[in-house]
């Protein structure tokens, strides 16, 4: 109740303040996805930003309900001429906005910064938002795939924190042991995460990008390995085709022993889980050496302002830079399950934080594996994503038995879409 009153008082005060000083403040229009996840982050960042930049006002737009919604909204707004100044886009959705010329290059701003690298931006991170060798997006929150384990269930088959599976073969073996121990649903594997994220995870595990230029690489041997691995996991574990809400509920209820998912859900799982011990561990690999690379999930900040006014653009850049570096970036880790894509923030500011939150530290250990979450180029990129999604779903539902055949079909259909 106290908080309600305070919030109302603050809202009134800020409303009064904006009317009073709207004249002399530069307004930056800003939109982001998933208010339930990120509201709290921006609430934490804003006071710090206002303290550093008292002459800028950040005006929050309606939030996007998902990354897809975010991209579609920007495309519509581009036609209507009502674009915001800064938008947060899913990492694999940046390419569309660059291709269509909606997102602006950030190079001029970076060039004007005295020592940009010192702020903790480093190449692997910047690569995620680089197109045509120009930086267009600064990653804001990053997630990687990890393994979630219910240690009480795992103990039934004789597993503890020291011998958790490290390869997919071991995972399948664990499934068998768990089923023998009476666990009906030993595992869930997040194939249905948007943007074919887990297929790309298996491809990057073999250090193979899923698309090179306009070439869809699933037709190569690595592609067949990826498909076969999926089929082995699904059939070997007799995995149920769960929707993500059902999967998270099953895991929280203690039904599942293992769940392979994005690290970003750690917070949600911790909040909702029953009385068991949750351990997260590195994403298994195809070989004992572990994966050679993993796709980065999350979103990045893009400049889509249509303004020509250098002062307004500078203000937008100030906001963009603030949330992706230093204390701003550190708040991402403090308030969400994501990591800041910023070396300085992870290593210096957050060292204690990860000691206190070991479940969130797994992804940080995997940071050297960070690779791009690839978009399929061209107007048909999203349709290609869907074709692949449908194909993988067919493996789960048992519609496709022969992986060589599926490989051919998918390659043919996707390749046609990309050309």
């Amino acid at each position: 109740m106290q908080r309600t009153l305070t919030a109302m008082a603050l809202a009134l005060a800020s409303a009064a303040a904006t009317t009073a000083s709207a004249e002399d403040k530069i307004v930056v229009e800003f939109a982001y996805p998933y208010s339930h996840l990120f509201d709290v982050t921006y609430e934490a960042i804003l006071p710090k930003f206002y303290a550093a930049h008292p002459n800028i006002e950040i005006r929050m737009r309606a939030t996007y309900e998902s990354y897809e919604d975010g991209t579609n909204t920007i495309l519509r707004e581009a036609v209507a001429g009502t674009l915001p100044d800064v938008t947060m886009q899913g990492l694999n959705r940046q390419a569309i906005l660059v291709e269509k010329g909606i997102a602006k290059s950030l190079e001029p701003f970076i060039a004007a910064e005295a020592d940009f690298a010192k702020d903790g931006y480093h190449k692997a991170m910047l690569d995620l938002g680089t197109f045509d060798s120009e930086v267009h997006g600064l990653p804001f929150s990053i997630s990687l795939p990890v393994g979630y384990y219910n240690m009480e269930v795992m103990a039934k088959a004789g597993y503890d924190a020291t011998n958790l599976p490290t390869t997919w073969a071991e995972v399948i073996e664990a499934c068998g042991k768990l089923r023998e121990a009476g666990v009906d649903n030993p595992m869930f594997w997040g194939w249905n995460i948007t943007g074919n994220w887990f297929l790309q995870a298996l491809m990057w595990s073999q250090d193979k990008p899923t698309v090179m230029g306009t070439d869809f690489t699933l037709d190569e041997p690595e592609g067949l390995t990826a498909l076969n691995t999926m089929k082995d996991i699904f059939t070997g574990c007799e995995m149920q085709n769960l929707e993500w809400k059902a999967a998270l509920a099953s895991f929280s209820a203690g039904d599942l022993g293992m769940m392979y998912w994005s690290t970003s859900a750690v917070g949600a799982v911790e909040r909702a889980m029953g009385d068991f011990t949750l351990v997260t561990s590195e994403y298994p690999g195809l070989t004992a050496d572990g994966p050679m690379g993993l796709p980065a999930g999350g979103n990045s900040a893009m400049l889509v302002s249509t303004s020509e006014d250098p002062e307004e653009l500078a203000a937008a850049w100030a906001w963009l830079k603030f949330i992706t570096s230093g204390e701003g970036a550190a708040d991402v880790a403090r308030t969400t399950g994501y990591m800041p894509p910023n070396q300085a923030a992870n290593e210096i500011i957050l060292a204690d934080f990860y000691d206190a939150n070991p479940a969130k530290a797994t992804a940080v250990r995997q940071l050297p594996l960070l690779r791009e979450w690839q978009a399929y180029p061209g107007d048909n990129g999203l349709a290609a994503t869907q074709v692949i999604y449908d194909g993988i779903e067919g493996i789960v539902t048992g519609e496709f038995e022969d992986m060589t055949e599926l490989q051919e079909e998918l390659t043919e259909e996707v390749q046609e879409l990309l050309e």
Partner: protein, 305 residues
């Protein structure tokens, strides 16, 4: 009585229909021959390529299958249950109001919220439906092979098993829609003059069935035409629920990939307006033909008052 009054009466409606409905449809019709994608500066003319795709790809085969399955389950059931509920409730007089309100609740609830609730209810292991079924394990029910199979591991994944999904979604469609028809039928029933029943009784129609056959059903004719037409259109246009359950892809193995969702997926999600528009045109063609057939069939047996 020939005046120009009718022009003023239909004028505004015609104008708005043209601007809000017909012009966008014309735009869609034009776009369906191009490869337009939002945010591109222009578009290329591609002829019938988009249409060709609709009729050759297996995805679209699934689309027609899912749409027709849904429509032909939901229309008869919502009309039948709506009429049945209306007759029962009408026979009760004032007490029936309570049932009327309850049955109308699903029509009023925001489907986006109800979808989440149904997802919880249909959860394969901890959802209320399968949890209830599980209680029957170990009883005589296990002699039913389907039930025994469920007890062994888990009962069906109602929403994500490709053999069940479309029927589960249809069930929810019926749940959501029959109250709507019930209210329309109730309105129809209350407008049947009581004297007609008395007259029928005097002519020897003594059983309840006779009265229904001779008085109620024929007099509900116009209501039925209306209800069936509306139900057809509403179930062809089913979208919200599919999007809420399966925002990606339209259900397990595309088994719930209804046309409306396909239009949305192509036109808005994937930003391929050309193909989305082509599905729209095909959709309109389909519903038009079906409505014409259905009107012929219904009109032959009933007549407008």
């Amino acid at each position: 009585m020939q005046s120009r009054a009718h022009l003023w009466f239909i004028g505004p409606a015609l104008f708005l229909m043209a601007v809000i409905l017909l012009i966008p449809i014309l735009i869609a019709g034009t776009l369906s021959f191009t490869d337009y994608s939002l945010g591109n500066s222009g578009a290329e003319f591609v002829g019938f390529e988009n249409y060709e795709r609709i009729f050759t790809r297996t995805t679209y085969e699934k689309m027609f299958g899912a749409t027709f399955r849904y429509v032909f389950v939901v229309v008869p059931l919502t009309v039948g249950l709506g009429l049945g509920a209306a007759l029962l409730i009408h026979s009760l007089g004032r007490i029936g109001d309570l049932y009327k309100t309850i049955y109308f609740l699903p029509v009023m609830a925001a489907l986006i919220a109800m979808a989440i609730v149904w997802e919880f209810a249909f959860h394969p292991t901890i959802g209320v439906i399968n949890a209830t079924l599980e209680r029957g394990c170990g009883t005589f029910l296990e002699s039913w092979a389907w039930y025994a199979k469920g007890c062994e591991r888990t009962f069906p994944l109602w929403l994500t098993d490709r053999d069940y999904a479309i029927w589960t979604v249809s069930f929810i469609g019926v749940w959501q829609g029959f109250g709507f028809n019930m209210v329309l039928y109730l309105a129809g029933l209350t407008s049947i003059p009581r004297q007609l029943y008395d007259a029928a009784e005097m002519d020897g129609a003594t059983s309840g069935w006779d009265r229904f056959r001779l008085v109620t059903w024929p007099l509900l004719g116009p209501t039925t035409v209306f209800v069936v037409t509306i139900s057809f259109i509403r179930s062809f246009q089913v979208f919200d629920m599919v999007e809420a359950f399966y925002p990606q892809g339209g259900g397990p193995s595309k088994s719930v990939y209804v046309m409306m969702f396909a239009i949305y997926e192509k036109g808005i999600q994937q930003n391929l307006m050309g193909i989305g528009a082509a599905i729209t045109v095909v959709f309109l063609g389909f519903v038009m033909v079906l409505t014409l057939i259905q009107r012929r069939l219904v009109e032959r047996r009933t007549h407008y008052v």
